[in-house]
Symmetry: C2
Subunit: 107 residues, 2 copies
């Protein structure tokens, strides 16, 4: 399991704002049990395929999803699947305060 930690406030904010959206949490939930590709997720959640792809990319970028290229004997011969990465974040006031402080020192 991935235990997320943060060195900067913007990093933390990036994660929190990514997850502070029901749609993106739904995408994460959709790929928790088994890997899926973007079109599958889109159809399952009733959102457009490009949007599902964007969200999967964003989740992947933050380390919350893993992208895997899969090949097949029939079309499409190549597709990109994603599956959720088990993770844990501990968020508390001390963390926020210490990140604020280190921002001030850098600034």
């Amino acid at each position: 399991m991935l235990t997320l930690s943060f060195s900067t406030l913007p990093e933390l904010v990036r994660l929190l704002s990514l997850l502070g959206n029901e749609q993106r949490l739904a995408v994460l939930g959709a790929i928790a049990a088994e890997e899926k590709y973007a079109r599958e997720v889109a159809e399952e959640l009733g959102i457009s395929r490009p949007l599902a792809a964007i969200y999967l990319r964003q989740l992947e970028k933050l380390g919350l999803a893993e992208g895997i290229s899969r090949t097949s004997d029939e079309p499409p011969y190549l597709r990109r699947c994603y599956r959720a990465v088990p993770f844990e974040v501990v968020l508390n006031l001390d963390l926020i305060v210490s990140l604020e402080r280190s921002k001030d020192e850098t600034g």
Copy 2:
């Protein structure tokens, strides 16, 4: 310390989107060490007083800040101070999945 837990996905999303913003984290950081009133926070962070007040209210509403009315011998004779409530949130994939599930059952 307050250990936050969630019964619904919207609740979780409300917290995450509230904190997924550098400005509001700054407000929380500003009142972590000692209580302050809205105008003080606004001046310290360089934002407008109504905005500081709105954020303090939002943080209070989610239990992350505590509002206290203070009286004084000179104007203003009454002012509302806020201080951060130490809190901790553990966020992980299992939580997200279980909240998604309970939403489906309710829906």
